[in-house]
């Protein structure tokens, strides 16, 4: 497959602990996807996964960079954070597993569904993580071929 240039690229900072702006990056992405004319069900799954990745930085890490590249037939997202990392990825993927502290749970986070939502919604999910350094989440979403122009 020849390397094609993305239609749209976006790079945003995410600040750990900033619950006021949490979700704004994913909202911006949703608007871009809608303007690009992708089908709503496709946008929905990209946005769910994007929101969960964004919130994991806000809740669990110190800071992060969110990068997205939108192509005519796919979306590529990378979220790179400085943070505590994930010591046991398999455990972290279990639904219901969460290390979120009580005051975060009171806000309705920390159900332990974020990573499994990301896995269900993306076509490819890859996580690189180093304890006490940080985590990189890479996700790809492919448009069903019958939807391509």
């Amino acid at each position: 497959m020849p390397e094609e240039n993305p239609l749209v690229e976006m790079e945003r900072e995410i600040v750990g602990g900033d619950f006021q702006r949490a979700g704004d990056v994913s909202s911006e992405l949703k608007n871009i996807l809608q303007q690009a004319g992708f089908p709503a069900p496709f946008n929905r799954r990209v946005v769910i996964a994007s929101y969960e990745a964004e919130m994991n930085v806000v809740i669990h890490a110190y800071r992060g960079i969110f990068r997205v590249q939108i192509y005519s037939d796919r979306v590529h997202i990378e979220v790179d954070d400085e943070g505590p990392g994930i010591p046991d990825l398999e455990l972290a993927f279990q639904e219901g597993y969460s290390t979120a502290p009580p005051h975060i749970r009171e806000m309705g986070f920390g159900a332990g569904y974020g990573l499994s939502n990301m896995k269900k919604c993306s076509d490819r999910l890859h996580i690189d993580t180093r304890v006490e350094e940080g985590t990189r989440v890479i996700m790809d979403f492919f448009l069903p071929s019958f939807m391509k122009g």
């Binding site: 006021q20 979700g23 949703k30 709503a40 946005v47 569904y113 919604c121």
Partner: protein
């Protein structure tokens, strides 16, 4: 087949915190829950969301899902930032002293069906 948002106010004895599009807009269904990753995965577009959560991220989730109206139950305090975000996004924000259960029972009587997204894809 939608139900007008403004019809919720009286039966719920709700305070209107942010009007959003309530004069003209309708919802097609409802979702109830206080866990954000549950709501974002399962609520349907054009729904009303019943929750005790009232911080600004609730509006972020509603925006991403395409929820038209949030009903905060049990008279939970609502932060100013939540109101601001709801105004920006033109989402109707109501508050009632009723519990979530009582609220859903009334919405159901008004004809709002429960809607859950069953397939993620």
């Amino acid at each position: 087949m939608g139900i007008k948002i403004r019809e919720f106010v009286e039966p719920l004895q709700a305070e209107i915190l942010v009007r959003g599009g309530m004069e003209s807009e309708e919802v097609e269904g409802g979702y109830c829950g206080d866990l954000l990753s549950d709501c974002i995965a399962h609520a349907e577009e054009n729904s009303v969301w019943v929750t005790v959560q009232s911080h600004p991220n609730v509006v972020a989730v509603a925006t991403l899902v395409g929820i038209r109206c949030i009903i905060v139950t049990n008279s939970q305090e609502v932060q100013e930032q939540t109101l601001e975000k709801a105004r920006e996004q033109k989402i109707t924000l109501l508050r009632t002293s009723l519990s979530s259960f009582e609220t859903v029972a009334i919405l159901s009587r008004l004809g709002v069906p429960g809607k859950k997204r069953r397939v993620v894809r």
